[in-house]
């Protein structure tokens, strides 16, 4: 664990109960990964629901998925991938000690996240307009197969939960932008940005699966 010569080096961001910055950084990272694990299982329930109902009503799922616009979904996928790249580069930039580069890249990530949400907004409002709503509010009649509302229940639950995560991510990125501009970070200490990055990549990961599940194969 701790190496002895770290005792003398005690920067102000090092908490008292850690014996070295290394120990603190590793702890944060492990904590973050465990948090991501809980996120995976949180989404997991919905993945399970998707799998069960997809197996029960395969025709419905195939018919219903055609009502989603894959060009919009694909655009959103590309937008999120781009935001992941900028996020990863923001961390790299801070590793190199460039505050300006980090700020630009964080702002780009934020902007791409906003684009994602705007596209999602148009998709949602179109669905609302058609009456392709979850569960008992479903009124659309153009989809053949049993229980098409279940497809939309799962669709709205999963993309909605994902959307909430995107919004939460934007809030955290905003906080990181603020802290970066206040010179809280340096090439020695950038753990919070790194953690934000991990979270943001997970949001991207989830979407990488949601996209084919709903837009491509139903």
């Amino acid at each position: 664990m701790a190496t002895s010569h770290t005792e003398t080096h005690h920067p102000n961001w090092l908490q008292h109960h850690f014996s070295s910055p290394f120990q603190q950084g590793e702890s944060s990272k492990l904590g973050m990964w465990l948090f991501l694990l809980t996120e995976v299982l949180f989404f997991g329930g919905l993945f399970c629901a998707y799998a069960v109902f997809n197996a029960w009503y395969p025709e419905t799922f195939i018919n219903a998925h055609k009502s989603l616009s894959w060009p919009l979904g694909a655009t959103n996928t590309i937008v999120l991938i781009a935001s992941s790249v900028t996020m990863a580069l923001a961390i790299r930039s801070m590793q190199l000690g460039s505050k300006k580069g980090t700020l630009i890249l964080l702002w780009s990530t934020m902007a791409l996240a906003a684009v994602f949400l705007v596209i999602k907004y148009f998709e949602y409002s179109h669905k609302f307009h058609l009456g392709q709503l979850p569960g008992e509010y479903y009124t659309y009649e153009g989809i053949a197969g049993t229980n098409p509302h279940i497809f939309f229940s799962v669709y709205f639950m999963m993309t909605g939960l994902h959307g909430i995560h995107v919004i939460a991510g934007m809030i955290v990125i905003g906080w990181m932008i603020y802290r970066t501009s206040q010179d809280h970070f340096s090439s020695d200490y950038y753990t919070p940005i790194e953690m934000t990055g991990l979270y943001w990549h997970l949001v991207d990961l989830v979407w990488i699966f949601l996209f084919p599940m709903f837009y491509l194969i139903g």
Binding site: T3, H9, S20, P21, F22, Q23, Q24, G25, E26, K29, L30, W33, L34, L36, L37, V40, L41, G44, F47, C48, A51, V52, A55, W56, W70, A74, T77, I78, I81, A82, S84, V85, A88, L89, R92, Q95, G135, E136, Y138, T146, N147, H149, S187, D188, Y190, T191, E194, G197, L198, H201, L202, D204, L205, I208, F209, F211, P212, M213, L216, I217
Partner: protein, 154 residues
């Protein structure tokens, strides 16, 4: 390595991020193209294979799993493994209910009667929980409920 805890792993060259980003882009285009073809079950399999590839790229490079402590990789794989366990064991039930008696494998009414939920509808219940005062409103909703019961009853 210095005493600082962060730079113990080397900083990846810019090209890694750009290349991975481009690979993800190509894979996205590929999965869309493949989905337009009619390949039966292979549509699903291919889409999932591509998604898993993309996810692995993100996890290994963007999330640094390839370079970091292997413990994080274990944590991440554990999450996937237990999710898999959850889905597989749940579906071990939902997919085999009709094994002995076929009638047990499916609902009695395949098509749901969407607007015929037993009891009080959800929104009204919420309202009732927050403030139990609007009795008149709930009464009418109960009446509507019973009308739809008559309409949709078997």
């Amino acid at each position: 390595m210095s005493s600082n805890g962060q730079s113990h792993h080397h900083i990846l060259p810019l090209s890694v991020y750009i290349n991975v980003g481009l690979a993800l882009l190509v894979l996205t285009v590929l999965t869309v193209v493949v989905a337009q073809m009619e390949l039966g079950v292979f549509n699903t399999i291919l889409a999932m294979v591509i998604a898993i590839t993309k996810a692995s790229l993100v996890a290994l490079f963007f999330m640094h799993l390839k370079y970091d402590n292997k413990l994080y990789l274990i944590v991440f794989l554990a999450a996937i493994a237990f999710l898999g366990l959850f889905i597989i064991l749940s579906m071990a039930d939902t997919e085999t209910r009709g094994d002995i008696y076929e009638f047990r494998g499916r609902p009695i009414n395949e098509d749901a009667v969407i607007y015929n939920r037993p009891g009080v509808a959800g929104i009204d219940t919420l309202a009732g929980e927050v403030a139990d005062t609007v009795t008149a409103a709930t009464d009418t909703s109960a009446a509507n409920q019973s009308e739809s019961d008559t309409a949709g009853g078997q």
